[in-house]
């Protein structure tokens, strides 16, 4: 089944925040933010803004009735700056006016006298000065020093990966509507209804039961609407104080300049291999460029840290990870949530080691690929590993060795152009690494006319989670999918929901929905038996919108069944709860079972390098990806393709430039995400056949993030091509922009 929203999308009939018809008295908000990366606020003058045409009010920290805090994990992020600022773009005041234009104009009239203080933009400098969030994490397996001593080949180096802008099409937007009894209804484009609901009540100083938070869908999220609550809480505050509807919509450049990004990382790596190419030891230090507040950075760092070994068996390992507090806007979640960074370092180390050995990197990767019985650094022994199956399925399709030989031959015969390829395996742990977040609930209502409504905490952002939940409900109840409607995500129906994130939306909320439907199904089956005068429900099956008795369709159709059950006073509504079982991680020893299962894949990316111009094209990607038994093949293919291209963009052309004072120089006219002609002409996706997964709903697997890792292939294929031109210098860091490629070739 296809995404049930698509037929609305193509008609432009699906509603986003800006499409909700607002009351006539709706006001519009604009933020005044810090122009200085770090400093003391000596004075703030909002008088001119307050007097400007159409302005209803200007709010600062002193107007906050509750707690002036939107810190996600730590209380380190004020909603409005009080006496100091820590990054350019930090909110200082909110202007509310009759129109969006008037609010934006008035915000420009605010002036702040800020005494600049020394700001730090380099994560290693921050780490050296002890400017870190949380604690440094260390994990040790075996004895790396001894293993390096035994290694025939050792490669070590420093590299970095850059930031990535989410570029969700719908920018941060929120509409807040006051109601009676000092209540508030908030509609916003966010992935975290539960957390943001809490933040709003805390800032307003009112109980959460006075705030209703509702989400229909997002115009893209990718993690960028998960943790930072400023753009939701600020307009909610204004609506609450003014008792008028207030809308905030960030402009694109404002969104790029002031919201968090994928974290840039720096890496020191060292890898040791024996004469046969077996990895003996690996050491890596991760420096995460977190920004001024902790936001969700420590969770991202944790996931990088738990994925440092990639898809490989590493007997001796030592990894450290530190979240560096720098004076840029706090970075946040982005599809992959630190895994792409953790994986990058090991892939770079192996590519480097293979060069040292003089063999194709794919040979080293295959040799060390995870298989059943191998143990991951945190002590988990793998059982149902599909890493090798994915690799071999791909190899059978395309013959990796032959492809490598063809590239070598091409490069021997050509000087002006070179080809490069890279094989990237994927092993991606599924569950929130923060065990507490692995919970979800679902409310299923069957109405007397036979229609079914499902509410969960999952947020639809294009990933098709609502369609998957709709399918699960329909299958479990035995009715057609068109009888089931997935309702909005609403905190009055589903409280305290975990964010829709970590690829777990369908896993958690789908399982809760299945539980709720199973209970309702059992109730209806028991009732059907009584209704039909049959002694036991065991012979009853509800399917195809009807009651079957001993495999024979009865006259009791679904609608009749439901109506009769309601009249017989059977409860047709059920709320169910799911918490992923057996998850734990000991923070002291860094040992445990943080993930319920793993998603696997293997891809081969091939690029063509134009040596004269330093430009390149990604010519093809062939990949096999493990999605278990897909709930919807169409949706899962779309998730794979979209994630891969986003990963390729991060690896190549997506770059952010900062001025020396920390200002983001990159705007929408210079931040270039992949376009239709960037997409490789050959793009072959195979969903791994016959993959079972007892750890997720209906044997499916999470698919949102894991395929992003394949995008790394673009970087490593380019690296391969560049090495065929010259080997006498260090490979530049990610992203490998045309400029970096050119300078590698010609500088």
């Amino acid at each position: 089944m296809k995404n049930s929203d698509t037929s609305l999308h193509v008609r432009g009939a699906s509603l986003f925040i800006d499409d909700i018809v607002t009351p006539a008295d709706c006001l519009h908000a604009a933020l005044f933010t810090s122009p200085v990366a770090r400093g003391k606020i000596k004075s703030l003058d909002t008088r001119a803004a307050a007097r400007a045409d159409g302005v209803a009010a200007v709010f600062t920290h002193s107007d906050v009735p509750g707690l002036n805090q939107v810190g996600h994990v730590f209380k380190d992020q004020p909603l409005f700056a009080v006496d100091s600022v820590e990054y350019i773009g930090q909110p200082i005041a909110l202007v509310v006016a009759a129109t969006r234009r008037a609010a934006a104009r008035a915000a420009k009239l605010i002036t702040a006298d800020i005494e600049p203080l020394e700001a730090v933009f380099d994560p290693r400098t921050a780490a050296a000065r002890g400017m870190i969030h949380g604690q440094k994490r260390v994990i040790t397996v075996g004895d790396t020093a001894a293993a390096f001593a035994k290694s025939k080949f050792v490669a070590q180096g420093k590299l970095a990966t850059g930031p990535q802008e989410h570029f969700y099409f719908e920018t941060q937007r929120c509409l807040a509507l006051p109601g009676e009894h000092d209540t508030l209804k908030v509609c916003a484009s966010t992935q975290s209804p539960g957390t943001f609901h809490h933040h709003i009540a805390e800032v307003l100083g009112i109980p959460q039961n006075k705030v209703e938070f509702e989400i229909r869908r997002l115009g893209g999220g990718f993690g960028g609407k998960e943790s930072t609550a400023v753009w939701v809480v600020a307009p909610a505050l204004a609506a609450f104080l003014l008792k008028r509807p207030v809308k905030l919509a960030l402009g694109r450049n404002e969104d790029i300049a002031t919201t968090g990004k994928r974290h840039a990382y720096e890496y020191d790596y060292k890898i040791g291999l024996d004469a046969d190419g077996n990895i003996l030891a690996y050491e890596v230090d991760l420096y995460q460029h977190a920004g001024a507040c902790a936001d969700i950075s420590l969770a991202v760092l944790g996931r990088s840290f738990l994925h440092v070994s990639g898809s490989y068996r590493i007997p001796n390992l030592r990894a450290t990870a530190v979240s560096c507090r720098t004076n840029i806007p706090p970075n946040n979640a982005f599809r992959g949530f630190g895994v792409p960074q953790g994986n990058f370092a090991i892939e770079a180390a192996i590519a480097h080691a293979a060069e040292t050995m003089g063999v194709d990197a794919a040979i080293v990767k295959r040799k060390n690929l995870l298989q059943d019985g191998d143990t991951l650094p945190y002590g988990l022994q793998l059982k149902t590993t599909n890493a090798v199956r994915c690799w071999e399925t791909l190899d059978k399709q395309i013959d990796i060795n032959r492809r490598h030989a063809a590239v070598t031959e091409y490069n021997r015969a050509h000087d002006d152009t070179k080809r490069g390829l890279a094989v990237i395996p994927v092993c991606f742990g599924i569950s929130f690494a923060q065990t507490a977040l692995n919970q979800a609930s679902s409310l299923v209502n069957i109405y007397v006319d036979g229609s079914v409504s499902v509410s969960t905490g999952a947020v639809e952002m294009g990933q098709g989670v609502n369609t998957k939940i709709q399918l699960i409900a329909a299958q479990t109840l035995g009715v057609d999918a068109d009888r089931v409607r997935v309702d909005t995500t609403n905190t009055s129906r589903i409280p305290n929901a975990s964010p829709t994130s970590a690829s777990t939306g369908a896993d958690l909320n789908g399982m809760a929905t299945q539980y709720a439907c199973q209970t309702l199904y059992a109730r209806l089956r028991e009732f059907a038996a009584k209704h039909l005068g049959h002694p036991t429900p065991d012979d009853i099956v509800i399917k195809e919108n009807a009651v079957f008795l001993k495999d024979k369709r009865t006259d009791l159709g679904w609608d009749k069944l439901v109506a009769a059950a309601q009249w017989a006073r059977i409860d047709l509504s059920h709320h169910a709860f799911y918490a992923t079982p057996d998850l734990h991680l000991d923070p002291q020893t860094e040992r445990g079972r943080p993930f319920a299962y793993y998603a696997y894949g293997t891809s081969l990316t091939e690029v063509l390098l134009d040596c004269r111009r330093g430009t390149y094209a990604i010519e093809s990607i062939d990949l096999v990806h493990d999605v278990g038994r897909p709930l919807s093949e169409a949706i899962d293919r779309g998730q794979v393709e979209g994630a891969v291209i986003q990963g390729m963009g991060w690896a190549t052309i997506e770059q952010i430039r900062y001025a020396p004072d920390g200002k983001v120089l990159t705007a929408v006219n210079s931040y270039k995400i992949p376009d239709i002609k960037f997409c490789p002409p050959k793009f072959n996706v195979t969903l791994l056949p016959n993959s079972d997964n007892p750890f997720a709903v209906c044997n499916s697997k999470a698919v949102g993030e894991p395929p992003f890792i394949h995008g790394l292939g673009a970087y490593f294929a380019l690296r391969h091509a560049l090495r065929s031109v010259r080997q006498d210098k260090e490979i530049p860091s990610l992203p490998l922009t045309p400029e970096k490629v050119f300078m590698y070739l010609y500088e």
Partner: protein, 467 residues
């Protein structure tokens, strides 16, 4: 008072001519299908169709409504996604997007539907390559484009047998389910709209020659300004051959120029070269003269025309005309030889003499819809013995102005060989002083120009390069 047709409905409005169409559609008319995602023409989420009667034929093009002032669509038919929703039936483009699961979050989808529909209305051959060109200004952050490409490919197949006669295009697209029935009545409805003569060009008015950069730079100021739209000047919309000169009217858009038969015949590389200029939805409004007068040091059209030795015919408000060679037109960063009230009425392009090679090179971070780090064009004329008679080399991104690189006279008489190529490349690199900016470092640009000049010569050496 502005008059136009929005989907099926006639619109009369007193809104400011400088209000962008996107805001009118969403805020004034309350139609939510046209999405705001960047307001700079960078994403295509706000794509609409604009149809205008020209010489009795109604022609449509896809445009970014965030950069399209309301005054520009006076007298036109504007189509938003709501204008394709005919009762409960999906249009062919909509249906194929559904069939191929080519939409995820849905925010970019209406714009893609409109670009696909515009492809149906405008493509000369319904080729897949043309369909990709039609979508080159529509970004999508979710799907990775594979599914969108599949939808486009199927659309090409479905339209392959269609009548190619432009006069019958709308009727056959209605029959094919691409357009709803009401499109058949639009020419009559447009003919009934008042057709005021274009406002006389007043020195106090801001001249809009497409506006795709102007409305990025200062939308707020333009909302209040008097505007004069070059697009309303039918007298400036022509491309015609005049002996050994191609005369290009000041109102010609980049896309019209790119596809014009005379341009294809005499400057055959232009069709491909100008694909590197912005995107279809912008080239449909952006003009050659706008690109020139913008005086951006990196304008693609400026670089192409500099190498082609173009001359500009400037027309003053009093009717006075003067000719200025393009290589004398630029005075400094964003400054040009255009006095108050003057406009570029015509561009004169000398045809390429036999034995000429012409080549354009552009390197940008992303290939499509991106501003160059360096762009450069070379016109090389040789004698029958292959010796250089004239060499014109222009480069952008390496100086405060679009630069015609001097000192090339000394290569006259030289053969077109590797030694000459290297010497020209070195001369060019030595002549420029680029700066560090978001498009790249100074060192990169300088060295890149060197390499792109070598690329020019490699192209010139290719068989069949000479005309």
């Amino acid at each position: 008072m502005l008059n136009f047709i929005l989907n099926q409905h006639r619109v009369q409005t007193d809104e400011r001519p400088g209000l962008v169409l996107l805001d009118f559609i969403r805020d004034v008319k309350g139609l939510p299908g046209t999405k705001e995602a960047c307001r700079e023409g960078e994403c295509g989420a706000c794509t609409v169709l604009v149809g205008a009667l020209r010489n009795g034929v109604l022609t449509y093009k896809a445009c970014a409504s965030c950069l399209l002032p309301l005054g520009d669509v006076d007298g036109c038919h504007v189509v938003t996604v709501e204008g394709l929703n005919d009762d409960d039936r999906l249009s062919l483009a909509q249906q194929l997007m559904v069939d191929h699961s080519a939409s995820q979050c849905g925010f970019c989808t209406p714009g893609i539907v409109l670009s696909l529909t515009a492809f149906g209305l405008t493509s000369p051959d319904y080729s897949y390559a043309d369909a990709l060109d039609a979508l080159d200004g529509n970004l999508c952050r979710c799907t990775g484009y594979v599914a969108i490409r599949n939808a486009a490919r199927t659309l090409c197949d479905r339209l392959a047998g269609l009548d190619r006669d432009p006069q019958k295009r709308v009727a056959s697209l209605i029959a094919a389910g691409v357009l709803p029935d009401y499109f058949a009545g639009i020419p009559q409805q447009l003919a009934q709209l008042p057709h005021p003569a274009p406002a006389p060009f007043s020195p106090s008015a801001v001249l809009v020659a497409g506006g795709t950069d102007l409305f990025v730079q200062k939308p707020e100021a333009l909302l209040e300004s008097d505007l004069c739209f070059l697009s309303k000047r039918d007298d400036l919309n022509y491309v015609r051959l005049d002996g050994r000169l191609l005369r290009v009217g000041g109102a010609v858009t980049l896309e019209e120029f790119r596809r014009h038969p005379e341009v294809k015949k005499h400057f055959p590389s232009m069709e491909k070269d100008l694909l590197l200029h912005s995107s279809t939805i912008l080239r449909n409004k952006a003009t050659l003269t706008g690109n020139i007068a913008n005086a951006s040091p990196i304008g693609d059209a400026s670089i192409l025309l500099l190498a082609l030795d173009a001359k500009l015919v400037l027309a003053g408000p009093d009717g006075a005309r003067r000719e200025v060679p393009l290589d004398k037109f630029y005075r400094g960063y964003k400054q040009c030889d255009l006095t108050c009230g003057e406009l570029i009425g015509e561009i004169l392009l000398p045809l390429l003499p036999p034995g000429t090679r012409f080549n354009f090179e552009k390197v940008s971070n992303r290939v499509i819809l991106d501003i160059a780090a360096v762009n450069t064009a070379l016109r090389l004329i040789t004698d029958p013995q292959g010796r250089i008679l004239d060499l014109r080399l222009a480069a952008g991104g390496v100086a405060p102005i679009p630069l015609l690189i001097g000192g090339m006279e000394r290569f006259r008489g030289k053969p077109v060989d590797e030694a000459t190529a290297k010497a020209v490349a070195q001369t060019a690199a030595d002549a420029v002083k680029p700066i560090d900016d978001v498009r790249g470092s100074a060192a990169y640009k300088k060295q890149l120009l060197h390499q792109l000049v070598l690329a020019h010569f490699a192209a010139a050496a290719a068989p069949g390069a000479a005309r």
